[in-house]
Amino acid sequence: MSGVRILVGTRKGAFVLTSDTTRQRWDISGPHFAGWEIYHLKGSPIEPNRLYVSQSTGWFGQLIQRSDNGGETWEPVGNQFVYEGVPGTHQWYDGTPHPWEFARVWHLEPSLTDPDTVYAGVEDAALFRSRDGGKTWQEFPGLREHGSGPFWQPGAGGMCLHTIILDPADPERLFVAISAAGVFRTDDAGMTWRPMNHGLRSEGIPDPHAEVGHCVHRLAMHPSRPDVLFMQKHWDVMRSDNAGESWHEVSGNLPSDFGFPIDVHAHEPDTIYVIPIKSDSEHYPPDGKLRVYRSRTGGHEWEALTKGLPQRNCYVNVLRDAMGIDALDPCGVYFGTTGGQIYASANAGDSWAPIVRDLPAVLSVEVQMLP
């Protein structure tokens, strides 16, 4: 490996942070697409210089940008996300039917095997795929047309499909998560979908154990163990050992089990990271202390990682797509805050330092290994 590249999406543009494998000194380029909201950008795992970017604003809508040279130059590709057939309705915040309307792309997930194939999770919640490098997009209507679709409701951030996990052991299997519907899985490459929410409990819905309606914030999987999933839910950190068929809580001794991101250590499938946030109405860390919590036991038992992180007067948030892990040994852990800081740990979380402090509010962080 020659280095590490961090792709940062912010409220006002994208930034690319690059270092050698020591991860001590970082070059920062950007803002790319200055002034635009960059919800997410991510590179192809098999062709790292192929990057896909979700670029949007309330004024000018959605664009998808592509780079074939690691972000040196960009090319706008296709931005037509058209729902298949008659889109129908979902529930609005007040419970009334609301037409399905495309708003933006929240997450782009490049294929594990083909650099021209990329998945897009969008608001209002649906899954699209491009097989021509982002030029054209086709929906998987079987997800949106799941019988529960008319009862899905938006979370506070909109009704977004924000998480896409591709099973490295089974190309027919994908997991997605929708706020606020829950987890869905396909075992036939996207034709049909099943809710995977058994064991979730959410107080904010009429039936706390409902099949759908849960505000799942993020899922994580280690590629060596695709049947084990971790979840940061609106409240509760959860774990599934059977590919989502059932979930159990592993919040353990966390100071708050509310939060957004969750991620897995690169080499230890039972080592996971979360960043507790005080509550859904107070989107900042408990006690003004920014602490990453690490469990080396797959949940239940958590240790606070604080060295190098602000331990007083810190009231930032860390959003669901704003944490990433590199594949070095020891692995690096990175996250971005709504205050514009990118914090990095080159020792699996034991200590932290900011790479940069004053970016616009960070929406997403992705990490690439450079060959």
Binding site: W59, F60, Q62
Partner: protein, 98 residues
């Protein structure tokens, strides 16, 4: 020749400086200007109007001759001053925070 002034973000996206000059055959309307604009700069498709319905995006406005033309029919003939190039057709991002 039609003169079009784009907002900063769209000039950056289209890699243009200053005004865009378009030649349009037939009647000059919002619709014909946007068709010609998008034909020359395909990256602008979807940024000013919906790519399928052609409905103007909510926070985009069209101004010319100190008038807001945003709510005029997209197929209505535009003012002579725009059609002759004496005055530019402005595409404006509405003042809406952000």
């Amino acid at each position: 020749m039609i003169r079009v002034i784009l907002p900063t973000h769209l000039r950056t996206l289209a890699h243009v400086d200053g005004e865009v000059h378009l030649d349009i055959e037939g009647q000059v309307t919002q619709h014909s200007i946007l068709n010609a604009l998008e034909a020359r700069y395909p990256m602008l498709r979807g940024t000013i109007r919906d790519p399928v319905t052609h409905q103007r995006r909510a926070f985009v406005r069209f101004f010319a001759c100190a008038q807001d033309l945003s709510h005029e029919s997209p197929d209505a003939p535009l003012l002579d001053a725009v059609a002759t190039g004496a005055e530019p057709f402005l595409v404006v991002g509405a003042m809406a925070g952000g």
